[in-house]
């Protein structure tokens, strides 16, 4: 049997334990999809797979047990999902055009969750639109608030929703619900001064607990959508580690520009001998030094006035 495994992988199929048998990987940006696509997955799994579907750790689906020869048929059946989820594609009917840049994951976000500061799925889809298809190994995750249910600090780029609390002192009756909530559930940056509340903006993480706790609407959310961008978290063999804060109070345009700049940086600096052309960005930064990365990442980025850039960054983690 002759099979170009490089082409197969690029087409979002997998080389498996079993010779001649593959698995189809379906990306779901933001991890949210219309239920009607589940019946398509079922059809593929039952017609060409082994009748099972794996829910992947990156919020996609993987349909195992597909014979190499059936890949074109699977790709045809996948077309409504690829189109319906608005995935960039080169030739309709031929499946996914790349697999290197991984599915962009997201927590449930503010479509459902009271804590979330924004629509995580919608933002994930906008990121997907500008970065896919791409062969480079990028992992991006979004979470609605600093609770970080999406574990974004385990990703190359972690996007965490923040809100800049707005305080209307004339509506404050000093019930201290916000002070207590901030102390017990968050980072303790609210203090009662003369029966009103003072916030320490430098230490505030923008979680919105004060807004949620306030019974009179004295605390409300800021108008601007702002985020914390964490970078270069990773799992893996050599040095798994949590992502560190890069920019606090950044906006969407800034995040997207930094991600795109990082593609240029990686293209320039990736180890030409990297196995399978795949090297975690964090290891490239370890090699070039953070300052070189920062220079590339922030090129032409317009940050909001209140944005705080962390520099230098030192990562910890487990070193083997």
């Amino acid at each position: 049997m002759d099979m170009n495994t490089k082409a197969l992988k690029k087409n979002a199929f997998r080389v498996t334990k079993q010779r001649g048998v593959t698995a189809s990987r379906i990306r779901v940006p933001g991890g949210h999809l219309e239920a009607k696509y589940l019946s398509v997955l079922q059809e593929i799994a039952e017609k060409y797979g082994n009748g099972t579907v794996h829910i992947t750790s990156r919020q996609g689906f993987e349909i195992p047990g597909i014979l190499f020869e059936n890949m074109p048929y699977v790709n045809e059946l996948l077309q409504p999902i690829i189109q319906g989820l608005n995935i960039n594609q080169k030739t309709p009917g031929q499946g996914y055009p790349a697999a290197g840049t991984r599915n962009v994951t997201a927590c449930i976000g503010n479509r459902v969750c009271p804590y979330a500061c924004y629509d995580t799925t919608a933002f994930a889809q906008r990121i997907e639109k500008v970065i896919f298809p791409n062969d480079l190994h990028f992992k991006i995750a979004l979470t609605g608030c600093p609770n970080d249910c999406a574990k974004v600090r385990m990703h190359d780029f972690g996007i965490m929703g923040m809100t800049e609390p707005q305080y209307d002192k004339d509506r404050c009756i000093n019930c201290e619900a916000c002070v207590k909530a901030c102390k017990k559930k968050s980072v303790n940056v609210l203090k009662t001064v003369n029966y009103k509340v003072e916030r320490y903006p430098d230490r505030c993480i923008g979680c919105g607990e004060c807004v949620l706790a306030c019974p009179t609407g004295a605390w409300t959310r800021g108008e601007k959508k702002l985020y914390r961008l964490t970078i270069m978290g990773r799992t893996g063999k050599k040095n798994p580690r949590l992502g560190e804060d890069f920019v606090k109070w950044i906006d969407e345009a800034g995040i997207i520009k930094i991600i795109l700049n990082t593609y240029d940086y990686v293209t320039q600096h990736i180890d030409p001998a990297a196995p399978g052309g795949k090297e975690h960005i964090g290891y490239i930064i370890d090699r070039t030094g953070f300052e070189e990365f920062r220079k590339w990442a922030l090129r032409d980025v317009q940050l909001p006035k209140m944005a705080e850039v962390s520099t230098p960054i030192y990562w910890q983690g487990v070193k083997y």
Partner: protein, 340 residues
Amino acid sequence: MGYLLTKEGVNAVLKEWAESYLIYAPVRMSGKGAFSETDSIRYAPITTVEEIEFEKKSDFPFKEVLIPLSETLFFFTEDQVTEADGPKKNAIILLRSCDLHSVKRLDEIYIKNEYEDYYYKRIRDNVKFVLMGCKNAFENCFCVDMQTNRIETYDASLEKKGDFYEMDNRFADWETVLERNGMSRRVVVPSYVTETNVHVSIPQGLSLDVSRSKIWDEYDSRCINCGRCNFVCPTCTCFSMQDIFYTDNGKIGERRRVAASCMVDGYTDVAGGGAYRQKNGQRMRFRVLHKVYDFKKRFGFHMCTGCGRCDDVCPEYISFSDCINKLGIAVKEVGGHNEE
């Protein structure tokens, strides 16, 4: 006299009113809800009819205009006291029937309750009320059962009728401005609610004996004593005093009064460190009985006007109307005697 007006006509009326009044109405404040990308409907000054939220019940009540959540009463130096300025302008408040009934409760507490409250009175004397017609009850309303669904004592009314507006006027000074800006005269009867989904039945034979009932206990754990039910209630009038000494000079400062809540910690604190109602169920008992028992015993009518905002806002889904309806069980449980 009733009038039919175009949108422009109403705006012309508002413009003339604005010369001597601040006009407060429920407005939709975009993004000001507690959850992201949700709105909050609150009272704020308006200049055009387009700003008024007619379709939804306001989340916070009109009472904030009459009794601000936080109000500086006076400033003090070492040997002098200066009264804080009251509002510079008269006010017009747009509100629904149940809320206009609430004004009667506020007046009872602040004006007719033995001592007249100076700060309330100086605002209240300069306020006119414009009734917003209310066709259908909202989710948690029970105005019909509280007999607050209709009211006649308004200064004017305003209601959307298709592309036009109907206004009824009962304040002689406004007749000419309405005459001038109306399309035509007509008999206007502001819409009122005749049926609600929620019903309450306040049992006969209610007495303080129901305090001993077990019905209150479930709220010990269900209620989180946040006080939202009080702050959105159009009839809750409790306040607390705060003396503030300015930090740069600890000898001068101001006295404020701020809204207080019988559900929030600290309300029953007394000198010596005691606190009477520590359990949330007991706070709930106090609030519920005040709304449908104590107040009536003293003033002759129920305090609660059935607007249902406490139900709308409770993050723990505690229903005030549901609790009222449990009172019948409570009366039986404690072997109630008929006081009514």
